[in-house]
Amino acid sequence: MRVSVDAAKCVGHGRCYVLAPDVFGEDEQGHCVLLEADVPPELEDQARLGADNCPESAIRIG
């Protein structure tokens, strides 16, 4: 599974790296940093949870 983040949309809610800490990280400002662009099968549920909870719809899957 592929994941991508639209950095222009991210404003640092931090839902992704709280709910899916193995897929998403944070930079100094608290904005999303992608840890795993190619998500292994065991992390797919986590990635989806993080993406679904982004209030800015900044995370794309697939």
Binding site: G12, H13, Q29, G30, H31
Partner: protein, 400 residues
């Protein structure tokens, strides 16, 4: 019975009705269904309530500006930074401030908040009763915030007085005229600027490892912040930091006091606390709405908003919209997808959201560990303020 809170015939809503503050969800439903853009009673200003419309407006700061007339809203001389500034200037301030309020930084404050929560509970746990606002909800976040800013904790009462003077000038007084309220606001604003001027002078002379000293050193595009800019940031931090978590704690605990089965779920499974915090933010939405000013004529549905009109975006109504949230009227602590707008959406996402979440989680964990079973004192009616829904009188009792 007074007049209805929502009057679909005229399309008006009384946002300052006490019943609306106490129980807003049915009012939101009526607004979304009957008048998705209503007009506020007295001010005539448009009030937007559907999720889709609220989020659209929040994502278009070039149409819905945050640069509202500050003198009308609060007793400030200049806009508060960065809340009342639009991008791109706002973005530069956020780049500077966000790192100081990041999730990582806030996590470091957990032990201190936990200790303080327990110290507060120690003071009343054996009495079997407390007035939640005064004895827990007000002191807990205020002390944390003062520490974060490097402000003296023994000045708590002074800050509370200023904050109330600006946000609720009528608190604890008999009826006031609008003119008197304005006077209290302006005077409180003046006192707060004077205090920060003095403290900034002290930090300039003797810098410390705190946020105020950092602001004095900070640069945007190679330029130091001006004294005015720092004061306008301080003023926002003071108001935002002292009020919103207090209000949220009251809303959450009032809900849990009145819904024993939901409370038991949390007590039995504290791992639900983080998602319960999100769900209660969605359901209660203590900051019911945010103001914007229309930069040009704009149409929402068939409602025409005119350039210059002050518009209220009702976050609480957006957060309970059935079109967006499955089973929106059900409070579900295990809700998997919860993209609520309680901290705003877009460029102005609440700067303190990570601080607030941390404080709320720690507070709910410690409270329920120490006082798992409690209720609103029988025969007593809580009092809730409008706008920012603070339970200003919330008497709780439990068995000892």
């Amino acid at each position: 019975m007074g007049p209805p809170i929502v009057d679909p015939e005229t399309g008006t809503v009384s946002l300052f009705d006490p019943e609306f503050a106490r129980c807003p969800q049915p009012v939101y439903a009526e607004l979304r269904r009957r008048c998705p853009v209503a007009r506020a009673a007295f001010t005539e200003s448009p009030v937007v309530s559907r999720y889709e419309d609220v989020v659209w407006a929040l994502r278009h700061p070039e149409i819905f500006s945050s640069a509202v007339d500050t003198r009308l809203v609060l007793g400030t001389e200049r806009p508060m930074i960065p809340q009342q500034i639009d991008p791109p200037a706002q973005t530069r301030y956020r780049k500077l401030l966000d790192p100081h309020f990041s999730r990582k930084r806030m996590a470091a404050l957990v032990p201190e908040i936990r200790r303080h929560a327990n110290a507060l509970i120690d003071a009343f746990v054996d009495a079997g009763r407390c007035e939640f606002d005064e004895q827990f909800a007000i002191p807990l976040p205020c002390t944390a915030f003062l520490a974060l800013l490097g402000l003296p904790a023994d000045r708590l009462d002074f800050f509370l007085e200023i904050k109330d003077g600006i946000i609720r000038p009528q608190k604890g007084r008999d009826a006031m005229t609008l003119e008197q309220m304005k006077e209290v606001r302006v005077e409180s604003g003046r006192k707060s600027y004077a205090f920060f001027e003095e403290t900034l002078d002290e930090r300039s002379a003797a810098p410390r490892d705190d946020l105020l000293s950092t602001l004095l050193r900070a640069e945007i595009d190679g330029e130091r912040l001006t004294r005015s800019e720092i004061l306008d940031i301080c003023f926002l931090l003071l108001l935002a930091g002292l009020d919103t978590v207090t209000a949220t704690l009251g809303c959450n605990v009032a809900y849990l006091a009145s819904n024993p089965s939901q409370r038991r779920r949390l007590v039995e499974d504290p791992s639900l606390v983080p998602s319960a915090v999100e769900e209660l933010l969605r359901w209660e939405t203590p900051v019911t709405g945010v103001p914007r000013v229309a930069k040009r004529d704009v149409t929402i549905g068939d409602f025409e908003i005119k350039e210059g009109e002050l518009v209220t975006l009702l976050l609480g109504a957006a957060n309970t919209d059935d079109e967006h949230f499955p089973e929106a009227q059900r409070v579900d602590f295990a809700r998997e997808r919860n993209v609520h707008t309680a901290f705003g959406v877009g460029a102005h996402r609440c700067l303190g959201s990570h601080l607030a979440r941390m404080e709320l989680q720690v507070a709910l964990e410690e409270w329920h560990r120490r006082i798992p079973d409690y209720r609103i004192e029988p025969g007593q009616t809580p009092r809730v303020s409008p706008g920012i829904r603070e339970f200003m009188y919330l008497p709780l009792v439990w068995d000892v």
